[in-house]
Amino acid sequence: MESTKKYWKGLEEVNNTPEFAEHAKNEFAEPIPVDELLQGSGLNSVAPRRDFLKAMGFGLGAVSLAACNVAPVQKSIPYLVKPEEVTPGVPNYYASSYKGGAIIVKTREGRPIKIEGNPACPINRGGTDSQAQASVLDLYDNSKLKGPLKGGAEYSWDDVDTYVKRGLAKAQAAGKTIALVSSTINSPSTKAVIAEFSTQYPATKHVTYDAISYSGIIKANEQSFGKAVLPQYRFDKANVIVSFGADFLGSWISPTQFSTQYASNRNIASLNNKKMSRHIQFESGLSLTGSNADSRVAIKLSEEGPALLSLYAEVSGASVSGASLNNQPANAAIKLAAKELLAAKGAALVVSGSNSVAVQTTVNAINSLLGSYGNTIDLDNPSYQYAGKDEDFTLLLTDMNAGRVGAVMFLDANPAYSHPLAKEFTEALKKVDLSISFADRPDETASLCKVIAPNHHYLEAWGDENALEGYYTLVQPTINPIFNTRQAEVSLLTWANYPNQDYYAFVRSNWEKTVLAATGKKWDDVLQSGIISLPAKTGGAYAFTGSVDAGTVAKESAALAKDIELHIYQSVSIGSGAQANNPLLQEVPDPVSKVTWDNYAAINPKFAESLGLKQFDVVAIKTDKYSVELPVLHQPGQAQGTISVAVGYGRTKSGKVGDGVGKNVYPFITYTQGNAHFANTVTVSNTGGYEELAQTQTHHTIEGRNVIRETTFADYKKDPAHGSGNHGEKHPTYDLWNKYDQPGHNWVMAIDLNACTGCGACIVACNVENNVPVVGKDEVRRRREMHWLRIDRYYTFNEEGKAITEEHELEGTKGNMENVSVVHQPMLCQHCEHAPCETVCPVLATVHSTEGLNHMAYNRCVGTRYCANNCPYKVRRFNWFNYWNDSRFDNYLNNEFTQLVLNPDVTTRFRGVMEKCSMCIQRIQAGKLEAKMEKRALVDGDIKMACQQACASNAIIFGDANDPNSEVSKALKNERTYYVLEELNVQPGVGYMTKVTNTGSQEA
């Protein structure tokens, strides 16, 4: 039986609102006002003869003046002394590291222009997330400081040094603490610098504080196993994964690493071996991870504790107090999950997104019973990505208030924005004599400090990172500092009167003493590869010595069950908000809600109805201490009685882009037992306001066409072609068009819907590679986003384990809108053989190539937009403005600094032309040329698309279909392969592989 599930993109489509029905007919949101022009004051208005003559005269004059313009003289300025490794026009690649993951930085003529994952990276395996991809733009952010500031005025580094040294000496002499507040530092060299600093100033105290804290897990591990570490989770070794609110594919600890691991049990290779992991998610807001889960159960935040306790009871067989869950579907799911977990003992993994020690101890107890330690959880090779201790910062706050702190420094920490006690902190900071920030911009904390000693961007700096035990990466500069900044480590060494302040020499000698000495490797070799990976330590099994504190778990949960439960989460692209001033990240649609440029109050439509809240109504979310006003978003899948709001928004001093985008909800974070909890209980009231969110989700409709094909793992095992519509022989097809020959190459792509998690890293990678402009919130509202690649998210109802198949069933079974399944589908130009866009172009601006691509010649395009209207996939984007030379877009990418990030091999498009995915033709041409110059045949894998390269889960495969041994040829021969809208016989070049859901033994 083929699936005839009904898919929908948004509530508008389900409810078929009149507005939606109207927009569905049009490719473009706003019609061109032709009628208005013809009927209204347009053509009927009388143009007086004199006016006409004036206009004509002016026009003629202007034209002839313009014609007088001689071609401008262009200068060509060579290097005085060319650096040996630079050849203008040829990119150089340097190994570096971002947030502990190895990356490769592509530079052109000394400018970094693209970040690529390093395939040799043992954790991310060449994958990157959207933040890493966008980080190259942060380098050219012109909101950054141009030099050091003291008291808000520009100062020289020498003056700053004298001032700071005097201040530090004073603090030291007075016996006061010198505090260094930083986010987690896992760099061995930075730690050594801090140690050097501490020897000069023994009063130094290093306080580690993370905006998003994992201190609960660290503490729980200390209690349970005597090791205060963040363990390394191994989703690749887990056959059954149960997650309680942990968004491990989107934002939890190390999402890129986890995506890689997670996909390895769900991709083509795994399915070919008839193996697939099972993933059950219990959560309140619909997260990216939840949208990928095989079974997702919406539970309130207050139910998380009891649910976990009942799972513990089920797994251990003991009776646990407080393990009663007043939620029938969840109860059933817990029983089922317990059964499956026990069956997969040794390959089972339970994770929780909570930061409560009691909850994490319970999770540890369950994992311990399931034999996860040593298998799916590695305590011997822990992660050093987060080491913040929430208590330390609160202690510092008391010290500051008591006047015991003489100097405080902030390195990559912005507590005035991201700490729930920001107000108290601001007051306390006034009592400190010397406050220094190393922030690269006058952010919320830095602007309160007396001195700002701006740090380098990581692409300008030397450094190293140690994200995991035994895994070291080097950071090397790829450009000279753009502004008059100085590396924070150098500042610290200067103030500590360290003899040699050359940080390169410091890092190198530090490595030669430690890591290089241990491995016997040479510095130059390591600098080239960027990585040192020691063999993993093997340890014994860990015996659980903690105790499950059911009372605390139940109490913590019960505390939330007062009013409406507020779920605080990190959005996938903005995260903690440190990169909020990055327009690329702001414009990436949220993977689930498809909202850009804002945070919002996500409420279940049914629950919102009961509160009388309509879509986009502005509501006030209040506790007794803090309140914000945010627009409502009806979010299917959201648990009843809960509201989800993302942190990372509402920055006030991040820069021109990030300021005033959304509202800050960090102050809602509560503290219990010294740990930050990302939950609160709030009241919600309608303010009567209305604010339309800039969503991309409803911009196109598929009008009920069968674009998603799905199957279950059980069906797949019986028939791999199940659900794909592949029934052996194809229908005979008849073509109106001539067939195109592809004698040389035939570039095609295969996208595995089962591997794709929908994270959106590919979108940013595509934007950076292809100079795709950022258009801003207003333009997105007008449906004018320019992304060449979008990820469509389709919902289906999943009531009582049964998919809705008939249209008329929709009405009755919308239920409480909690049980929805989600499929993510990357959609880009399909490079059709019989492309409908080509036949309607009146000027032949879009034509077919002999290599199977659909070319777009921008300079030929006159902007009729016929092609966009005729494209069944809705992938063509129209340039409504000259985004690269229009003052309205200055804040995004159109300024003298950010334009340095442009890829010089790709033209920027002008106003009035159509654009679309070119299949990174510049990469294809470059790859071919490289082969030609080396006089060898092109090898499969030589050419990689930007999206493919960024994808952590390898969901995108690109290659030559004429090569029968290429990876893509093999993928397209897979039984699961289908083509979107293949019934139109446009013969797309992009094949998709069915989404497989592992509904588990019971549900199948």
Partner: protein, 452 residues
């Protein structure tokens, strides 16, 4: 009228006088110039005596040029010290030792040898064991002779040019003055004649009134002359034909002109340095890619950075053409690099050279040199014209899309020995056998190959 003419005539006489005086002055100055020129010529031949080392200076010159010239000059420090007067400074024996094996001499601890070595930043002079004692004597003889000749010749020549320049300036001025006077004189003569003619006409007009009848007949004749034209103008077919022909001619001219809009063939801007490709690529036969080193591996051929210029121009200074001074154009390189040729040190006050770009391909077109140079093996001259004959570079090809496409249609793909093409050509052959495989056949005309 009459007043004016008399005015002119009265002016004529003194002006003519002034002209004559001026011309005679020029003659006088030319006459004066001859004397110092002669004296310099005699002076230069005079001194060539002086006892040098026993050797054949003529044979030495050839040896010097082939062995020493790369690093040494007679009167100027290049890579090594200036050699003039070396025979007086050092003993013949010492020089023999040094030339045969300078390092040996240094190692032996010779004070002078060590001093020289230190002075030149421990740059070792290669040993010349292949030179016989006689050879060395010959070279030293040449150095002696040239060293003696050079300074005197330089001063003499300098004096001569200085004198020539002095008179040159004044004679130019005088010639210019004379020319102005002559032209003024001619104008006056012509104007005078015009005035005369006009006066004569005035007189005849007065007489004309008497012969009115004759005039009427002339007019009638004129009417007849236009009759044919008028008749033709009435012929609609003819008019149509003429208009059509005119339209076609003008139209086709316009059309051709439109095609050439924005085409900059022949564009030859003034460059900051008068760099001659004719000299470098033509006369000196320097390979294009020695300087334009990006051409084989990059999309840009690249304008050479100044360190490439300095490979040669550290000692090629064209002083012989500029009387011992460094050529002003080469000096521009030094200025840009803040390089002091005396001390051979680089300073910090650098200024890049702003060349004017000649070949301006629009941004929307992607062009890659390496594809054409490395892969296709096309000569630079195919697109850039006879560059080795260009004193100043101009745009030779139109760089239009039509021009690109034509070449892609005609040029056979250079696929021999390139394994990349093996499969591509084989696949192509199976479809269209026997046809010439041009770039166009392999998709070289597709939009996306150049526009992305």
């Amino acid at each position: 009228m009459r007043n004016f003419s008399s005015h002119f005539r009265s002016l004529l006489k003194p002006l003519a006088l002034a002209g004559i005086i001026a011309i005679s002055a020029v003659n006088f100055s030319f006459g004066q110039e001859a004397a110092p020129a002669d004296s310099s010529a005699t002076a230069s031949t005079a001194p060539s005596a002086g006892g040098g080392p026993a050797g054949d200076a003529a044979a030495g010159e050839a040896l010097f040029k082939s062995n020493c010239g790369a690093c040494h000059a007679i009167d100027k420090r290049v890579l090594g010290p200036a050699l003039a007067g070396i025979n007086q400074k050092q003993s013949n024996e010492w020089l023999h030792k040094w030339i045969k094996n300078s390092q040996g001499l240094i190692a032996s601890g010779d004070k002078d040898a060590v001093a020289i070595f230190e002075e030149f930043n421990k740059m070792a002079m290669p040993a010349f064991p292949q030179l016989s004692d006689a050879d060395i004597d010959n070279i030293l003889a040449y150095v002696e002779e040239a060293g003696a000749k050079k300074p005197e010749a330089a001063t003499a020549a300098g004096g001569a040019t200085a004198a020539a320049e002095d008179t040159g300036v004044s004679s130019f001025m005088i010639i210019g003055l004379v020319a102005v006077v002559l032209i003024a004189f001619l104008v006056i003569v012509v104007l005078n004649r015009v005035i005369g003619t006009l006066e004569r006409l005035l007189v005849t007009k007065e007489a004309e009134q008497n012969v009115y009848v004759e005039d009427e007949e002339a007019e009638a004749e004129e009417k007849d002359r236009f009759r044919v034209v008028k008749q033709l103008a009435k012929n609609k077919k003819f008019v149509f034909f003429v208009v059509l022909a005119l339209l076609i001619t003008l139209g086709s001219f316009g059309y051709m002109d439109m095609w050439n809009t924005g085409v900059q063939t022949g564009y030859q801007p003034v460059q900051p340095i008068k760099f001659s490709h004719q000299l470098h690529a033509g006369t000196n036969q320097i390979d294009c890619q020695y300087c334009h080193s990006g051409a084989w591996k990059s999309k840009n051929a690249t304008i050479p950075s100044l360190n490439i210029c300095m490979n040669c121009h550290k000692y090629v200074q064209a002083t012989d053409k500029y009387n011992g001074e460094i050529s002003p154009e080469i000096q521009k390189i030094y200025t840009a690099l803040d390089y002091n040729p005396e001390t051979q040190k680089y300073g910090n006050n650098t200024r890049p050279i702003e060349w004017v770009r000649i070949h301006n391909l629009p941004d929307l077109a992607y062009f890659n040199h390496s594809q054409h140079v490395s892969v296709a093996g096309i000569e630079c001259q195919k697109c850039h014209g006879p560059i080795q004959e260009m004193e100043e570079v101009y745009q030779y090809s139109p760089l239009t899309m039509k021009w690109c496409i034509n070449c892609h249609k005609e040029t056979e793909v250079n696929s021999k020995g390139n394994a990349y093409y093996d499969k591509v050509i084989a696949a192509h052959d199976s479809i269209k056998k026997g046809e010439k495989v041009t770039a166009a056949v392999l998709g070289g005309l597709e939009c996306g190959k150049c526009h992305y």
